[in-house]
Symmetry: C2
Subunit: 461 residues, 2 copies
Amino acid sequence: MNGAVDLPLGLAELSFDAAGDARVRRSVLPSGVRVLSEQVPGSRSVTIGFWVAVGSRDEQPSASGHPATYGSTHFLEHLLFKGTTTRTALDIAISFDAVGGEHNALTAKEYTCYYAKVQDRDLPMAVAVLADMFTSSRLDAEEFENERGVILEELSMAGDDPADVANERFFEAVLGAHPLGRPIGGNPDTIRAAVRDAVWEHYRANYRPSDLVVTVAGAVDHEVLVAELERALTGAGWDLSVEAAPVERRPVGPAVLEVARPLTVVQRPTEQINLLLGVPGLVATDERRPTMSVLNAIFGSGMSSRLFQQVRERRGLAYSVYSFAPGYSDAGLFGMYAGCSPSKASTVAALMRTELDRLAEHGVTADELRRASGQLAGASALALEDSDTRMSRLGRSELTLGEFADLDEALRRIALVTADDVQALAAELAARPFSLVAVGATEESAFRGAVEAAAPSTDVA
Amino acid sequence: MNGAVDLPLGLAELSFDAAGDARVRRSVLPSGVRVLSEQVPGSRSVTIGFWVAVGSRDEQPSASGHPATYGSTHFLEHLLFKGTTTRTALDIAISFDAVGGEHNALTAKEYTCYYAKVQDRDLPMAVAVLADMFTSSRLDAEEFENERGVILEELSMAGDDPADVANERFFEAVLGAHPLGRPIGGNPDTIRAAVRDAVWEHYRANYRPSDLVVTVAGAVDHEVLVAELERALTGAGWDLSVEAAPVERRPVGPAVLEVARPLTVVQRPTEQINLLLGVPGLVATDERRPTMSVLNAIFGSGMSSRLFQQVRERRGLAYSVYSFAPGYSDAGLFGMYAGCSPSKASTVAALMRTELDRLAEHGVTADELRRASGQLAGASALALEDSDTRMSRLGRSELTLGEFADLDEALRRIALVTADDVQALAAELAARPFSLVAVGATEESAFRGAVEAAAPSTDVA
């Protein structure tokens, strides 16, 4: 079978051929643990991820009454590296370093993922160590204090990166009080106030068999993987004989957002202004996602894109300029970024608005549409050479999308996108309330003109 | 054949099997063009690089008397994307975007590389476009002015990144007036002063058949590649019938360095101090390079390394901490990096010194030595899955090392490194004059203690 497959939440076992002769399989164990694997013929390495559908957006007061600790999901992620009932932090680090493997974790707004990339022969080790971290971390009180210091340093590092600061503020501006608008890592005050017991409760409440999704891509045999995983989880103390259904997927569909904040200026004594301009976008499961991919490719992805050509190539106003369109279960964004000198920032902001309006009013050419298809096809094929990308794709399919679409199916959907579809979406985006965020040596007055040009003009080409 | 092969500079054709069943071949055309390819069975994509052994260190007054323009090599690199006699900048961008390829360039201290990663069927296009850029760029005067603006923005972006600033100052501090100590991109004054004629002369003087090295890895057939390359270069106007020898490799061996600058503080209103501490290291061809790899793995690479354990895991003093050991033809560095709060910076600096002294005095354990071998072997195997890494390895072999060592040979050399070798090298490094660079909200007085502890103490464990 070749194409898209709905991923049911009940007990299921399915398999099919996916892009590049890879083979995708999915099993749901009686305990609710889900396992997805994609075997890539000829591969000598493997990437494995342990996922749980809990991210920063889910932080709220605990069952026992602890107030919400913003950043506690990320704090917990760090603590899983700090030792289990049978392994010290150094033991964990040595396991992967001794074989030259990569080993890290990622806390996102809607999920947390612990992953490793190793040579094929080291997969059993990776399964064992990740299973131990996931099930049996101690969250030792002394390690908790040490790690508080490390996380405060991580927040400081991000705070020193003006592009990072602009990005956090952009999410807040567009999404308002929606939980997706919060920074993933919390802030220094919430991290200083974090208590070990609350993080422990968070761990116990959310790291159960029914929460766990394991995805593996590369040199993997599905049956062997499932057996190893069951052995590792049982060995680490989980009782997999207790039957449970996987946790329900997060409800999807657009949430009602507050009115976006039109203008945010963060003064910093930097050389450049980090500028972000955008609007609410599409949720991850929106059927117009392929249209958004095409729109974003034409508008702001790659050196031939309109933004790159107008802002950088023709006018030399910026070095880095692009657009982006992240999607989550109940909200999304469409944004445009540029880094430029203070004297150019209002010009760049106006150009960005003008270009989006132009796309909304005059649409795209047949050439652009054809090139976008080629761009998305080629870039996807190259990206899927990495088992990392395939492992992540499986996780996203399971946790967010509820279906797995292989490369052929994804490209078939892209090929169905018409110029009218792109123009209609551009018109919808251009009519939404804009938010502008500028971080740098500037003031609000510099952007009043760009913000007030908010009503789409009919004379922008 | 399996192992290391000297790369002669005369006319030569050789081939041998390298790691992972790949096959390396090298041809020197009568015109002096060198072509190295590594065919990776089963690969569906390919990475290609056009290299020239000219980097920022080579910038000097021109033959016609133009004064040296620091940053002109990087300026030239940008201009090669801005149009040829038969292709506009947009044509070049579209060529790669339309197939979803990656296309970029890199200016380094000792070379410049223009590269692309594409699907196998797009290799002829990549050869044609890169050959056109390399041979026939116009350096149009109007594009020159636009690009000056882009490069000034790129420098501003780097200037806003405190880790980048610290790194530039560290090279200056350790290498002094040596040309390798200069920043690659020049500075705003030199870029504002750059004139098109000087960059044009630089281009004409250094982009000749005898300078060109083409390296390709992935889905490539050597004979077909050579034929396509000859056709593309000839089509773009080069006369390949004129015989020439490749330019001689840059002389190697340690240069005499000035006395390093012990303390550099750049005041910035950032949350963290970006701290670098280090000494002159080994040149790229030093026979102790494998020892340095082992030393660096044990000391500061990975979560089980000594620096990570001492600075982050045990004390929570930093989020990012590691060591590094870049090597060039006639100089090298050994450095330690950490980002941390101002109140912790002198403690971290002292800890780094102490750890290096401890390595020098007490050496490494057999366990550490064994793990370092495993780490380097595994990490190399994973890295070589990317055709990018293999393409770069071929370029470095040709331009810097003068030999190609496959993975087996590289690991054989690593396995020969003894604990005594590592300790002896650590002792040599620890006895060299230290440079400390701190960028952030701090002052020189904060680091006097760390700098004055320069004489290795015997009581540091």
